[in-house]
Subunit: 280 residues, 4 copies
């Protein structure tokens, strides 16, 4: 991980996952608000999305663990070196542990879709655990580094623990679009901040940052707020585009199905449903 690429890869993953979550939850929200009140069985399309997400998580975690373990300078599944009386490549083992918990959250997601007896909310609880473990290991990861390096990573922890807390809240408060988008936002923020860490610690143009200067720390704190504003903008735009496209498509389909019809009454009932589901 000690290079720019090692921060860009997780950053890209988290950014894309944030996008995916935004799209998924806006679609689900659209479906919830346009359904009549009664029987709300999730359509197969959403189930398939969850299967893909869960499957990808399990696959990516497995690959991640394998790479961390069997890369050239990795621990190759050795934990303790008896000859030197020292632990072998603890950093790789830590990353493997993080991947393991994201893998568990993938298993929980698929189980909660497939098996009827699994209590609702297990997927969110497992995701909350995964984020907590990531943050928990990061806290000790940072120990004894330069001030700016430590500060950059501790700012990351804000995004990680805020995401973990909001996901835990979702176990109790279900189907709240704001909480769901907040989670997506925290993943995006995490992703973009990974890039920022890479840029500061391993600058591509070679200009080293002074890791002890106080002004740099002040700039970095402010920069975190800019990333937050940017991630909010990204989530808002993505949500708008998805909502707009979906409304346009479904309106067209209905028009075709039942010919020309005045849809103004539908829109107002949509609004009422929207408000009801938000107030729950």
């Amino acid at each position: 991980m000690a290079n720019f690429g090692g921060h860009a890869i997780p950053g890209t993953f988290f950014l894309l996952y944030g996008f995916w979550l935004t799209v998924k939850h806006v679609l689900q929200h659209y479906w919830r608000t346009t359904q009549p009140k009664g029987r709300q069985v999730m359509p197969p399309f959403f189930k398939r999305m969850e299967y893909i997400e869960g499957g990808f998580k399990i696959f990516a975690s497995f690959v991640g663990i394998m790479v961390e373990q069997f890369v050239v300078d990795g621990p190759h599944a050795h934990l303790y070196d008896r000859e030197n009386a020292s632990w072998v490549k603890l950093m790789n083992w830590q990353h493997s542990t993080m991947y393991l918990f994201f893998g568990i959250s993938g298993v929980a997601l698929i189980a909660s879709i497939t098996i009827k007896q699994v209590p609702i909310g297990v997927d969110r609880l497992a995701l909350s655990f995964a984020l907590f473990v990531e943050g928990f290991l990061f806290v000790y990861h940072v120990h004894g580094r330069e001030p700016l390096d430590a500060h950059l990573h501790s700012l990351l922890l804000f995004a990680v623990f805020a995401g973990s807390a909001s996901t835990l809240l979702e176990v109790v408060i279900r189907n709240n679009i704001l909480l769901e988008l907040f989670r997506a936002d925290m993943f995006m923020l995490q992703g973009s901040w990974f890039y920022q860490i890479g840029v500061v610690l391993y600058p591509l143009n070679g200009d080293k940052w002074d890791l002890k200067q106080h002004d740099n720390m002040m700039f970095v704190t402010m920069c975190f707020c800019w990333h937050l504003a940017l991630s909010l903008l990204l989530v808002t735009c993505t949500a708008f585009i998805v909502w707009f496209t979906t409304t346009r498509c479904s309106t067209k389909r209905r028009d075709i199905e039942i010919g020309m019809r005045n849809t103004s009454s539908k829109t107002s009932s949509q609004k009422a449903l929207l408000e009801e589901s938000d107030e729950e």
Copy 2:
């Protein structure tokens, strides 16, 4: 900001905003409690109030950012000075960032009124973000100052973070008059405390305070509690005057409309409605 005026201006803004919030929420609460239970569409008068508030926030944030950037000794939109390898006027950039988030909260407020698809509660979430970012930047703002100076600013953080937390709670618990007045109170407290900071650090009569004396810190802590008591008094009085005036006016209007009528039965049903909406 390093003078009395630089603290009096934001102080005045926050105080007035606290007053505005008190008036707005008491009016809304009056309207909620006097409406019959069924269809509760917000009347255009309240919508217009929200538009004015949102518009003012966006306008004030824009002006604030412009002033911070293009004031005589400002950064003039330059962030990094390559020649001296140093950041340009980070303090002004920090203030601009704070204004930016209050501007975002204004946009969210207007969007949540105008666009039907925007989930309810977005305005509160954005305001909570704005307060959080303000507090977040203040934490590092204070670094390395004199004890009394740091203490004064850390007391301000109590008002800021308490306001942020209660506003976040309003995303889930809607239309609770106590939470809404608590938010107004925290803005007033913040405003009056800005004045206090100005008075202590840049005394108008010229007597410098000893920034290291422990007794001064103890006094300042106690003084913060007095500001809290004062702001509670201000909110209570404002709420009482608004409620009293509104009741008087609306009673008169009804008397004129339908002639003389015994209003005692109305009052008791008002009370019942009041209790119901509070217990929700």
Copy 3:
């Protein structure tokens, strides 16, 4: 306050207030669980209890402030001594501030009973503020003392802030007997711990405690848990006695009113009501 009596007086007050709260809330809970579901208007007896409590709080706070100000070595309402450029008797001013907020909570209690328009929960919010301000001032009260002294006072803060948090929760969750008894318990714990502080710092038999020995701190921590157990026992016994007496009395009265009757059916419906009100 720097003697045993100065800790015994607030200790006695808080202990008695804890008892009063237990009795009051058990009576209210009994009344809630035995009422039929429909119209639940608080009987005048409970209103009178609240008036007495509120009136006593205002009176006691007023007396407290007067005593702290005009006692022989008090500040006599002087805050700043210009000649010596120092604050006058800040400790007395701090105690006056604490009393002020308990007085405010008394005013809020009476207002919430008397005036119909006051939102429900204001009394709890004001009490929560009073406890918060007490703890808040204590935090800086303790600064720079001996380790055992500081530890004794910081343990007190657990009871104060736990009480403040649970009272704040009561603003949202109304009529939950467990929360109400928890509050009573925290007042009792605070009261008994004031006695303990007095005993340790100003021992009646004259044996001074070593304020720096680690074993003393460990004992004091454990002793706090014993006070907690004791206060739980006191609340439980008080609640049991009040409940038992009330049931006995009201059963007798009903028997007299409508002659001999089998009350077994009543008891089972009581139980059902009890469960319903707790699950809310």
Copy 4:
């Protein structure tokens, strides 16, 4: 406690209690989800389970206190040694205090089953107190030890306080299977971590760990996450086995009772009930 056995005994107790809780709550959840909606009186079988649990807790606490007090090198109920002016065996007194609170939680459990007037949730509140007191005493238990020793115990506190917080939440949110299993999981984690502490501080093969090496602390942090993953696996497997066995048994019984019948319709209604109870 200063040997491997002294950590293995509480570890075994907590592990078994975690198993017991998993079995109990999965059975209760099965019963809740298969009952028709109306009258839900707890069957005598569950009452008996609670009696056994409560009785065992009281018995075990009593034995624990007696052993801690009257073991050969125990304090024999002496608290203060006047001759040496020192406390007698504070460690044993601390453990006795912890047992006392678990005993109180046993009493609360039995009382909440037996006595109709005891408010629902008292058992959870008492258990939350017991865990809080355990953690509270541990915080000062650890004072002044070697870094690795202190770190091992502070990791234990995560499990203890997380369990205390989730149990406190159960006072308000009843019958949520995820919260109940989380509690069981935290007890298992605590139990298995007690074993780990024993293994590290009093290794059975005699190889002493370096208590100051930073790599050891990093490994131990990661190892805690592995224990978490393991405990999640244990709870999941136990819950699955219990659920599977119960479903199989009750299906057989019904088949015998009413002859061959197509059970597919039952399964779908089970699912619906399951979802309803989880969403509550």
